[in-house]
């Protein structure tokens, strides 16, 4: 009897595991916020390592493919946060808590600022997750020191940019901007295309982008709503920022 019982319980467990709903796919629905219904499209899929990842589209809020945070999935339901989509700190961002329904849909609540609104999501197709743009390494021709200048609000800024490849083999760098004061920023995300280069300093929401050649990077400095033209040239040997 004992021998029979053990395999039976194991079989039950396996059945339960196999029956766990798969949240992978494209889900669409509307958070019924009173007077301001909020449509959303959620994409969920597992990575080859089995980790659940997702992104969201918010039609009408100019959000396309913002990553989901704190995704949790269980036999009972699904939850995730929307800090990136709303550009809000995690504790102030909307949270979604959903439960599986008999018809395969997910129903629950949209939670934010101490309030809740009903939300139901229907599966409408396969997942189409937007993955962040992958960082790249820098080719040797771009490594080293560059200098340039731009004007913002009538004040000139002198820029010294030092580009390198980090320990992980991806592009990185240091940026020194000298205007009324001196600011040092770490370049932490680099994308080098065949002709176009993008350098980001996430800590200051600061970006330099433009076309590059062996001795010249010509483009724009972008920070928040501000944009200014910049030309960076190879620094003379021994020059200091």
């Amino acid at each position: 009897m004992r021998r029979t019982a053990l395999p039976l319980s194991a079989a039950l467990l396996m059945t339960a595991a196999q029956a766990a709903p798969d949240p992978g796919g494209r889900w669409e629905g509307t958070a019924e916020i009173p007077g301001a219904p909020l449509p959303l499209v959620v994409d969920l899929a597992r990575t080859p390592a089995g980790v659940l990842q997702g992104s969201v589209i918010l039609p009408g809020r100019a959000v396309k493919g913002a990553p989901l945070q704190a995704i949790s999935a269980s036999d009972a339901g699904l939850g995730f946060g929307l800090a990136a989509a709303f550009n809000a700190p995690a504790d102030a961002a909307p949270q979604v808590r959903l439960h599986w329904q008999a018809d395969g849909s997910l129903a629950g609540e949209w939670l934010q600022a101490g309030m809740s609104a009903p939300l139901r999501l229907q599966r409408t197709g396969g997942p189409q997750i937007d993955l962040p743009i992958a960082a790249t390494a820098l080719t040797p021709a771009l490594l080293g020191r560059w200098v340039g200048r731009y004007e913002l609000g009538g004040y000139p800024r002198e820029v010294t940019l030092t580009l390198s490849n980090g320990p992980a083999g991806l592009g990185a760098g240091e940026l020194v901007v000298v205007g009324k004061r001196r600011t040092e920023l770490a370049i932490d995300h680099v994308v080098q295309g065949r002709e176009f280069l993008t350098l980001k300093a996430s800590s200051a929401n600061y970006r330099i982008e433009g076309r590059y050649a062996a001795d010249r990077i010509e483009g724009q400095v972008l920070q928040g709503p501000f944009e200014a033209a910049i030309v960076l040239r190879r620094a003379a040997p021994g020059a200091t920022p």
């Binding site: 589209i57 039609p59 959000v63 396309k64 176009f196």
Partner: protein, 434 residues
């Protein structure tokens, strides 16, 4: 066997032609609005819809089996036409309210962030970016009767940015900074710029070494495509009181040495392309003509805004051949594909009409239009004016305009490839209809 091979080659050539010709706004550089393909005469189903983060006013163009279009969420998209799945997405920093142009493997589009972007059409890799002096909507004091009259208002009905045009290795486009630009298509280097009197949001058309484009100063310009030198400028109506009956939002079509364009001054114009002399005008009794004309078989197809009419005019005389009520404002432009005319309407309905008779063949209505939340539309799909505009004071007009678009308005102009109709909606979705 030889005969079969020849037939196959001819078939392949005629099938390939439309796709190659549909990489630009209005189908070709002269902006005829005529596609060398057949639109469906019956509607079967929505093949797919692709959601973006904001309204779509940009029109789709075709490149290698993909649709390229912008969204007001700031992204330029490439979506596989067969599956409706995204191939790539390029982020800009402002609403992408222009229609892209594809040429020589590159795609060009203008964003409200002030950048004219050039990217690899296959991969989406950014190649270069040209900065204008800034993009914005047309604005004026007391615009359209807004109160207080002493305050400047941005026009909520100034929907589009100029869609670039590529010809002879140059990219041409208008800008809110008042210039018409010509850039080197390969490098983005400025070749010339021509100063106009106000924002330029229409798209230039090209014919016989000249480009033609109108601006919000009420002038339609003919410029030497190589040098930017002005050949002539035609002055349409101006409205110094309310700035309502003024400006070219419509993009011109150039056919047979004649430039055809709608205007917000309540007219459709036909001008001699060589001299700028007015050949005829058609009076719409004050109703804006924001849609761009399509010209085919000696007839001009246009649509009006407030009077909500689809009109067919004789191309030689401007005489009205016939007109049909379409229930709501039209900003989208007629697309002629075979014996069908497609027309997007701001009430969230796409109409397919018989080209010869104008008879309605089929309609597609967005879900938002069917739901009609807040009674934006009347029961017969007209705008419910009594409820739309709360006041002429402050931002009342902008609020009303935003409510109108809540029904999934079609600002976008339809594209047809392989019997499938593609069009973007203010509900943020690109639709594939078959």
């Amino acid at each position: 066997m030889k005969h079969n091979v020849l037939t196959a080659l001819v078939l392949a050539a005629t099938t390939a032609l439309p796709a190659a010709a549909q990489g630009t706004y209005r189908g070709d550089v002269a902006h005829t609005g005529v596609l060398q393909t057949q639109a469906p005469r019956q509607f079967k189903q929505v093949k797919w819809s692709f959601p973006t983060g904001q309204r779509i006013v940009s029109s789709p163009v075709w490149s290698d089996g993909a649709l390229l279009f912008g969204s007001d969420d700031g992204n330029l998209y490439s979506v596989d036409a067969a599956s409706g799945r995204q191939r790539w997405m390029l982020a800009t920093r402002g609403p992408l309210a222009s229609t892209p142009a594809v040429a020589a493997g590159r795609v060009y589009a203008l964003s409200f962030d002030g950048g004219l972007y050039a990217a690899n059409a296959t991969t989406g890799e950014l190649l270069w970016k040209f900065a204008t002096e800034g993009e914005r909507r047309f604005e004026a004091r007391g615009l359209h009767g807004s109160l207080p009259r002493s305050q400047t208002f941005a026009d909520p009905f100034d929907t589009y940015l100029s869609s670039p045009l590529v010809a002879d290795g140059r990219v041409y486009f208008g800008s809110s900074d008042g210039h018409v630009y010509a850039l080197d298509a390969a490098s983005g280097a400025l070749l010339w710029k021509h100063r106009t009197g106000d924002v330029v949001h229409a798209s230039p058309a090209y014919a016989d070494g000249r480009i033609y484009v109108g601006g919000w100063d009420g002038k339609l310009y003919a410029l030497n495509a190589k040098t930017g030198e002005q050949a002539w400028a035609f002055q349409a109506g101006v409205d110094p009181l309310m700035h309502n009956q003024q400006g070219f939002q419509s993009s011109p079509a150039v056919v047979g040495g004649v430039v055809y364009s709608g205007c917000r001054d309540g007219h459709v114009y036909a001008l001699d392309a060589a001299t700028g002399r007015e050949l005829w005008n058609h009076n719409t009794n004050g109703s804006w003509v924001n849609s761009s004309p399509a010209v085919s078989a000696g007839q001009v197809h246009v649509a009006t805004s407030d009077s909500a009419l689809y009109k067919v005019l004789d191309a030689k005389t401007g005489q009205l051949v016939r007109e049909h009520g379409v229930q709501a404002y039209v900003f989208s432009s007629p697309t002629i594909a075979g014996d069908v005319v497609l027309l997007g309407v701001l009430n969230g309905v796409l109409q397919a009409r018989d080209k010869a008779s104008g008879a309605l063949l089929w309609e597609f209505q967005t879900e938002a239009s069917r739901t009609n939340r807040g009674w934006v539309l009347t029961a017969d799909k007209r705008f419910n004016g009594a409820l739309l505009f709360p006041s002429s004071w402050h931002e009342g007009m902008a609020q009303g305009a935003e409510r109108q678009q809540g029904v999934g308005s079609f600002f976008s102009t339809p594209l047809v490839v392989g019997g499938v109709v593609y069009i973007g909606s203010a509900d943020g979705r690109m639709y594939a209809l078959e």
